[in-house]
């Protein structure tokens, strides 16, 4: 059972059970829905932007432990970050969960945040679960790209 605990590390089980920022934002400046047609899971990401800084971020939806934990950790990390920070983190995160090695190093404060996402990279050994870890990030990207209220699929 050792390797299963590498996928489901304590931090993931904790955020899966008690997701942070699991709420709606009444008047978001940006929002978008992520949809995984494989399992039918949906997650909605809400954002309040001040200029290019994320002043509030939250999510709602129904998903597995991994997608819930991924969304929860994402919202914790991104509050106070800029859009550029968010995109840099997503790029790096995407490479890590798909089993690659990032070619560029992140700036120091972001590198520390990246470490907090490390437990989610266990999905790279489970191809069917990679989309669970990235669903909320894809929804975030859709919201940031101004595709407000749109639904982005993981396919």
């Amino acid at each position: 059972m050792m390797d299963l605990r590498e996928l489901y590390q304590d931090i993931i089980l904790d955020h899966g059970r008690r997701p942070r920022n699991f709420r709606t934002i009444e008047h978001p400046t940006h929002f978008a829905q992520g949809y995984n047609p494989l399992c039918g899971d949906r997650v909605t990401i809400y954002l309040t932007l001040d200029g290019d800084r994320i002043t509030d971020i939250s999510f709602q939806g129904r998903g597995c432990a991994i997608s819930t934990a991924a969304a929860s950790l994402m919202t914790e990390i991104l509050r106070g970050k800029t859009i550029g920070d968010a995109r840099a983190l997503f790029a790096q995160f995407h490479v890590r969960v798909t089993g690659g090695e990032p070619t560029e190093a992140l700036a120091e404060p972001l590198a520390e945040e990246m470490e907090r996402l490390e437990p989610l990279t266990g999905v790279k050994a489970y191809p069917a679960r990679v989309k669970c870890a990235t669903l909320s990030w894809h929804a975030l990207e859709a919201a940031l790209s101004g595709r407000d209220g749109s639904t982005v699929k993981t396919e």
Binding site: L4, Y8, C39, G40, R42, G63, A65, I66
Partner: protein, 428 residues
């Protein structure tokens, strides 16, 4: 529905002794497993996903290879002996299906790719030829996508109405509501025999009676029933019956559409090409009689032969024995799983066969399936291509364990242990 009504013939009294489930019919899943090479290659495997696709017995695997080695040639065209032999084997497979369904005439058996293609054939050939705008096709909330989407395509093409008969609160077909949904414009009732997402048995005999009384034809989707129940299309009285080979322990890529000969004869071709014609000129083409009219191009010859071998395998086991086994094991599974705290079986109280679909409180189906996989228990998680039904039941997905002839009580016990492990891991 009583057990007896599922049977073609009354069950014979059980012999004195037996192994395995102790039904006394000599049916022993443990021993049977030796006929399925997959278990030799995966010794720890608890395979509980036969509703998605069943494993293949050695007789099918080897028989298909042997056909390619010794008898292969294209069918229905060569005058040389090998082609004649190949044609004979292909048509023998049709005869086996004919007997498997107890159809009245071998010409009522059309080989297709799978259940999905069978239903699409009816929707695309019978539909436009015999339906007019405003006519109704009646399905149920229990259907999977392949008995929903073909009718939506037909609706968009010729303007039929697609009517959906609801389920009752327990997850079974609401027969009263179904009867009320039948209208003078209902031309076809298309309904599943066993719901793939919940295992619920539909009283199809009653459905056929009610529909025929209103002048509607009936198509039964037998994907999940064909591997589990004796099927007698004449006794059922249905006009179409569809099933797929890979769920009855046969190869992928081969399926069957049964259609009553008078209905089939009135249907225009589905696809054009070789095999389905009598004479072709650039002005006019004369089509073959059924079933060849609906089998354009070189068919899946080896697939059909493999399906025939799978039917031999099933008949040798005995379809009553398989039904006994599935009923017994389904009952055992319901009892065993119901004792797990927080586990809710879908379609509780409904008569079900071979499928145990459940929700584990607070644990997502994909997480359940992931833990089960670690215990070498293979199940399906998600919406099972029946999204409208799953959403109707207030869920986004379920975990589904489904049975085959090779499963026994020990498999259910290991499933239960693995579910408990998942519960412990994720319980809030």
């Amino acid at each position: 529905m009583t057990t007896a009504s599922l049977r073609r013939t009354p069950a014979s009294p059980p012999p004195a002794s037996g192994e395995g489930l102790g039904r006394g019919n000599g049916f022993d899943p443990r021993r049977l497993r030796r006929d399925f090479p997959i278990f030799a290659h995966n010794p720890d495997l608890v395979f509980l996903d036969s509703a998605a696709s069943a494993q293949k017995p050695r007789s099918v695997i080897d028989g298909v290879a042997e056909y390619y080695r010794t008898d292969y040639a294209n069918v229905h065209r060569g005058v040389y002996r090998l082609s004649e032999r190949s044609t004979e084997l292909y048509e023998e497979a049709r005869d086996k299906v004919h007997r498997f369904l107890n159809a009245a005439d071998r010409r009522e058996i059309v080989f297709v790719r799978n259940t999905t293609e069978a239903i699409n054939l009816v929707a695309q050939s019978w539909g436009p030829a015999l339906l007019r705008e405003g006519d109704e096709v009646l399905i149920s909330e229990l259907e999977h996508h392949s008995n929903i989407v073909p009718w939506q395509l037909l609706r968009d093409r010729i303007g039929i109405r697609l009517v959906v008969a609801p389920i009752d609160p327990t997850g079974g077909l609401d027969l009263a509501a179904f009867e009320a949904a039948l209208s003078p414009r209902t031309r076809l009732v298309a309904m599943t025999h066993i719901a793939n997402a919940t295992g619920t048995l539909v009283p199809v005999e009653r459905v056929v009676q009610l529909a025929h009384r209103r002048g509607s034809l009936v198509l039964i989707d037998g994907s999940q029933a064909a591997p589990r129940l004796p099927i007698d299309v004449q006794a059922l009285g249905c006009d179409f019956y569809a099933f797929t080979g890979h769920k009855v322990y046969g190869p992928t890529g081969i399926g069957v559409l049964y259609a009553r000969l008078d209905v089939l004869s009135a249907m225009p071709p589905y696809q054009g090409g070789g095999e389905m014609i009598l004479h072709v000129s650039f002005d006019k083409t004369e089509y073959q009689e059924p079933p060849h009219r609906f089998e354009a191009g070189t068919p899946d010859i080896a697939g059909a032969i493999g399906l025939g071998l799978a039917i031999d395998f099933i008949e040798e086991l005995g379809r009553e024995n398989i039904l006994d086994h599935e009923e017994e094991l389904t009952g055992y599974g319901v009892d065993r799983l119901s004792r797990i705290p927080g586990l809710r079986l879908l379609g509780a109280g409904q008569r079900r066969l071979g499928i145990l679909s459940f929700d584990l409180e607070g644990v997502h189906p994909h997480d359940v399936a992931q833990v089960l996989d670690r215990h070498h228990v293979a199940v399906r998680a998600g919406h099972h291509c029946a999204q409208p039904l799953i959403e109707r039941l207030g869920l986004s997905g379920t975990t589904r364990a489904s049975l085959g002839v090779y499963n026994d009580e020990a498999d259910i016990d290991r499933l239960a242990v693995a579910i408990e492990a998942a519960r412990e891991m994720f319980a809030r």
